[in-house]
Symmetry: C2
Subunit: 345 residues, 2 copies
């Protein structure tokens, strides 16, 4: 994710997807067993990025919890992301943003864990309630390159098989680790970009344009061919079948039960805005900024020189090229999200 | 503290001071009451900066704790610092540095809290063992300017009185908040730069040179007079008497008992290195880099333009000017540290 608050400002799509799971998370907060001690209630946010999109779901859950335990009981909120995540922005947002879960609440203790969620990040039997939004589709590693493209659904069969296997293994790792961290009775809601069961990929249009913009950069000499060939967006959109795959025996896996698993269409927030303002150029700019904030940093890992200036210049050029190409695309772009509720039983 | 790991690389003086308290902290770990549950043991590091100087004391404490509870019991380590602290470097150092407290240990869970320690940062009755090194002398606010200087011990009587009052109030706030966060029986070791009881200030020589370098910058036009006048190092070195002041009745304050309070001289690590290499220029460069890493960022808060480039250019110029002036100062610079052990009883 791009740092210095840029991701927070350009991740409406992720927020739109997460909104589909918000009421499910609030319901989990109303049902999760709470022991009778005075000890802290622990919420975990797996893949927080810069925090903005976590505020509303955490606030909804905390409202439910407060109605059950009153204002005195401490609540810990642990935001988990990669070590290099922009935690300075996260702490600032959590503390000062309108609508933050801390804004009219005392006895709330935010903290951050800078460690990949493909490792243990919190103690065993520690978490009452977990949330993971638009994060669990990022893979732990890039298993192979994608000839001629950056986007997994556009990969050849061989490359796609390698990604499918990586995604299967990462998903089991993610779920197994979270199963250890949840308390008995603890609940975890996961929402992530998905493919619908027909595996249609309307979202791919954005990656096709971005891929063309990268080809342009090679042609004009602002990107080396070898850099371009290394570039992959190492994210995997699961189908409902893939998301449910580990829960084979009675919907159980690693001590977790899948209570629900749904795939739903996510409204395109850029398009909703366009229906208000009818500004074609602004539509392209919003989509290009979203793409840059979300995917350009991971693409820039493939640059030969990865200092801040080189990355910034790459991201600027990609965003400009993408914006230009998107100017013609005046249509909504549908995406899908898969939402799971799992319980440790 | 300067970001991107620069503070970690130039804070040997702070490490040297903290070393005086290390055995006291290990002893506290061997004595702190541990309940019989399997729940996490919680360590807090108040004022972690980028983490390097916290590794050795935390490792020593964890070794003691492990000999008492075995390898399975989880240990949480909460690093507390300002929201804008360089937590990316901290997480990287904690995870990868040789000598980190995680390096041959499992079941350790580092996290960060990005909130001033002049607020509640952790839940009540949560912390078994606290550590605060070279942090509690930083004040919560600048109570007044210091005419003609940047360093509190060089202030006029009026200005010094304002700082003394701020330091008194901040110290009571710091101790009261930590008293709430400690568990009954919990221990906190605090080590901070101090004045000895005669209030001699050999360390002031460094600030005199830095102050002269700032005057030079005004003269040459690289710093505005008004910017210079706003610059203050908002830190306060307490004497032993001032550090003990809150503990009036039977050495108790806010539920804490002061078990010990000592002031000791801290060896000058730049000088120790000079005795090895006899390199006068390197001596000046080390001291200037130390000053820059520790104090230049807080001075740069007074700039009219506080973007990253402006700050960097100011810090570069100040370091260069200070280095030039320090070239003549071929003598050790003594400093003092005050070390307290407090227990919640």
């Amino acid at each position: 994710m791009e740092g210095r608050g840029f991701y927070n400002a350009n991740s409406a799509w992720q927020a739109s997807g997460a909104a589909t799971a918000l009421s499910l998370f609030a319901e989990a907060a109303s049902e999760v067993p709470l022991d009778d001690t005075e000890g802290p209630i622990v919420l975990a946010d797996y893949g927080s990025s810069q925090g903005r999109n976590s505020l509303a779901p955490l606030r909804a859950a905390i409202t439910e919890l407060r109605s059950r335990v009153g204002p005195q009981r401490p609540i810990i909120v642990a935001h988990v992301d990669q070590p290099a995540n922009d935690f300075a922005t996260l702490f600032d947002v959590v503390d000062t943003a309108a609508g933050s879960y801390t804004s009219d609440e005392g006895n709330i203790f935010p903290c951050a864990v800078g460690r990949s969620f493909y490792r243990s990040v919190l103690p065993p039997d520690y978490v009452h309630l977990g949330w993971s939004s638009y994060a669990a589709h990022w893979l732990s590693r890039v298993p192979t390159r994608i000839p001629g493209h950056i986007y997994v659904p556009r990969a050849t069969a061989d490359a796609r098989a390698a990604f499918t296997e990586q995604a299967r293994s990462d998903w089991e790792t993610f779920l197994s680790l979270r199963a250890l961290e949840l308390r008995p009775g603890g609940r975890l809601v996961i929402v992530a970009p998905a493919l619908d069961d027909s595996a249609t990929t309307p979202f791919a249009v954005l990656f096709d344009y971005a891929n063309q913009a990268l080809v342009d950069m090679v042609a004009e000499g602002t990107l080396h061919r070898e850099e371009r060939e290394r570039m992959v967006v190492s994210a995997f959109q699961r189908t409902r079948t893939e998301a449910q795959a580990p829960f084979v025996d009675d919907r159980r896996f690693a001590g977790l039960t899948a209570r629900s698993c749904t795939v739903s269409e996510v409204p395109d927030p850029s398009w909703l805005q366009f229906e208000q303002d009818r500004d074609q150029r602004a539509l392209a700019a919003r989509r290009a900024a979203f793409f840059r904030a979300t995917f350009a940093p991971t693409l820039s890992d493939a640059l030969d020189h990865r200092d801040a200036d080189a990355r910034k210049s790459f991201c600027n050029r990609l965003e400009a090229g993408l914006c230009q190409r998107l100017d013609d695309h005046v249509a909504p772009i549908a995406t899908f999200a898969v939402t799971l509720l799992v319980v440790k039983e």
